[in-house]
């Protein structure tokens, strides 16, 4: 059994999203394994970003359930319990299950611990790199500053927490190789560095699941290779599961453990990179051939 079947962290079930008359995503179901790098691929307009927006709460899905699991709670029982309760979460001794479709976006980031990046990078351009990473630790620091009052009075808990937050930010800057630019405005960074900073910022929220929307878009081959190293390290050193949308097949095939393919809002393939690579339906979707021509196309690709 594959990891995403035996130990899923995210479970999307029958997700449907309609905008007026347009159905962007139709009854989509897939699982994301804990500690996996899962890639969501598909041609342009396949509904990938819509799925991301539903998972991170920016869109409320029309139908469907999105469960997220912390710890070792039985996923099915947890989802069942949460669905029947009026709340969006069930806790048990070993962990918790969150129903993301019931939660507002900021709670998904704060409580369910899902972090994300954006296709068209959204950094705080006028703030320095370190400030960007400090904003990401907002909720922890708010608590440490006793919701501002303690911080205003200069309590020690806050100064300690702030120092720790700075160290964490410095750690991530080191990791993305931008430590020497810590006090520069984020808007001055070159494109590739901005992408890395956005990932570091998302990681500063200590996510369980990190959603990356086209992290390799616009990167040169060297930056792309660095990105792969970074993603692997995030997975292995921080125990964060990664879900990414990507067009760059070299990134997808090299780093991912699991690939889900969408076309016109419908899942057409789901499995290991090797499985997906040889799936005739995927080849058809990417090359745009009719079903009866499939055989020929497949042999062409493998040749």
């Amino acid at each position: 059994m594959q990891n995403w079947q035996s130990d899923p962290v995210l479970c999307v079930e029958h997700l449907t999203m309609r905008f007026g008359g347009l159905t962007a995503v139709k009854s989509l179901s897939f699982d994301v394994g804990r500690g996996d790098i899962t890639a969501l691929i598909g041609p342009n307009g396949a509904g990938k970003t819509t799925v991301f927006n539903c998972i991170t709460g920016f869109y409320k899905p029309t139908e469907g359930r999105i469960g997220l699991r912390h710890g070792i709670i039985d996923f099915d029982i947890g989802k069942q319990a949460a669905t029947q309760s009026s709340s969006y979460v069930t806790h048990s001794a070993g962990g918790a299950v969150y129903l993301l479709e019931r939660m507002p976006d900021h709670l998904i980031a704060k409580q369910a611990k899902v972090a994300r990046t954006f296709q068209n990078i959204r950094l705080f351009a006028g703030m320095t790199l370190i400030e960007n990473l400090m904003v990401a630790q907002h909720n922890a620091l708010m608590l440490a500053s006793n919701f501002t009052f303690g911080g205003l009075l200069g309590f020690k808990t806050y100064t300690t927490a702030e120092r720790a937050a700075k160290e964490k930010a410095a750690f991530w800057l080191e990791k993305i190789d931008l430590l020497d630019r810590a006090d520069m405005p984020a808007g001055d960074l070159p494109y590739g560095a901005q992408r890395r900073l956005e990932i570091a910022r998302a990681m500063c929220t200590d996510p369980v699941l990190l959603c990356l929307d086209e992290p390799a878009a616009g990167l040169n081959p060297r930056e792309s290779a660095d990105l792969n190293t970074l993603l692997r390290s995030i997975r292995s050193d921080h125990g964060t599961s990664i879900l990414l949308i990507e067009h760059d097949m070299s990134v997808v095939m090299e780093v991912s453990d699991h690939v889900v393919v969408l076309d016109y809002g419908i899942k057409i393939s789901d499995g290991t990179p090797d499985f997906v690579k040889s799936d005739p339906k995927v080849i058809a979707a990417y090359l745009g051939v009719d079903d009866d021509e499939l055989e020929g196309a497949e042999s062409e690709v493998s040749a």
Partner: protein, 310 residues
């Protein structure tokens, strides 16, 4: 009963004026997504221009029916031309360079422009007092209904004039935005400005024309406002402007029929509230409507809910 009919007539009349102004707000908001704070002032300038022309013409030609007619026609033409020109220049000088600037810049620029216009008129026309009036224009009326208490509901000629002119203007406007290439260009800019320009739509020109049309309708509203109240102050842009904006929001911002519908509703609310509750708090009533609408149905009556682009 007669009382109610009277309020209904007055409400619809006032509402027509608000509707004409609201169309300008809603069009500009639809096409560039900005609240044009100076639109109320553009309306006021239309009214002041009309007042000046009216006084000038009637002082030469007297106040016979014919003279008043000619005066009003001249008022309309002059107000439409001059305020359209004014709005074109405002757009070019104060808003166009700020497209793509930071979010608050066009709003603050519009607010500044609103204050500049208001005080420009104040300094150069209202040196001796804050109000200018003309003798009542079109004084006759027809009686509609008299109730048991002896209260008589009347339909003034000027109310008829206001409703007819509003209907004609909205008809012309409707034709422009629905049946001409201009209207198509406008709708394409509303959808996606970048794409429209790639497909050969002159975006700058379309936006400029939108401002000019909005100003023309506001100018007509200004002339009608003068006919309705027979007086105008340099301060009269702000509150009616804010009420017309309320109308646009109530009808659903971005929706043209919504703006007219919202205008009528706001006019009715204002007149009914003054009549049955308290005239002191009529402005409070309208502005409360704005806040309540934004809280419970921000998309308005005929508007579409906004889908946020992430």
């Amino acid at each position: 009963m007669a009382e109610f009919v009277q309020y209904l007539i007055n409400g619809i009349t006032l509402g027509s004026i608000y509707g004409l102004i609201a169309v300008g707000y809603t069009m500009v908001f639809g096409i560039i997504g900005m609240v044009n704070f100076a639109h109320g002032e553009v309306f006021m300038i239309g009214a002041v221009t009309a007042l000046i022309i009216y006084v000038a013409v009637t002082s030469f030609m007297g106040t016979t029916a014919g003279a008043v007619f000619i005066a009003l026609m001249l008022c309309l033409v002059a107000a439409i031309l001059l305020t359209s020109l004014l709005n074109l220049i405002i757009e070019k000088v104060a808003y166009r360079p700020l497209r793509g600037s930071f979010r608050l810049a066009p709003l603050i620029s519009a607010l500044g422009m609103s204050y500049a216009l208001k005080n420009f008129v104040n300094v150069f026309q209202y040196e001796y007092g804050s109000n200018k009036s003309v003798p009542s224009i079109l004084t006759g009326h027809v009686s509609i209904i008299t109730d048991a208490n002896g209260f008589e509901a009347v339909l003034n000629y000027k109310n008829i004039l206001i409703m007819i002119v509003t209907a004609i203007m909205l008809g012309i406007f409707w034709y422009l935005v629905q049946k001409t290439p201009l209207g198509r260009a406008q709708r394409s800019c509303e959808q996606d400005r970048k794409m429209a320009s790639l497909l050969g739509v002159d975006v700058n020109r379309t936006i400029a024309i939108t401002f000019a049309i909005g100003a023309a309708l506001a100018a007509v509203a200004g002339v009608l406002y003068l006919v309705f109240y027979s007086s105008i102050s340099y301060n009269d842009g702000t509150i009616p402007g804010l009420k017309a904006f309320t109308a646009a929001v109530l009808g659903g911002i971005g929706s043209l029929p919504g703006a007219v519908l919202g205008g009528l509703l706001i006019g009715l609310i204002e007149i009914m509230w003054s009549g049955y509750v308290s005239s002191d708090y009529k402005d409070v009533a309208v502005f409360s409507v704005l806040i309540i609408v934004l809280i419970i149905m921000p998309q308005g009556i005929l508007g579409k809910p906004e889908v946020e682009k992430v």
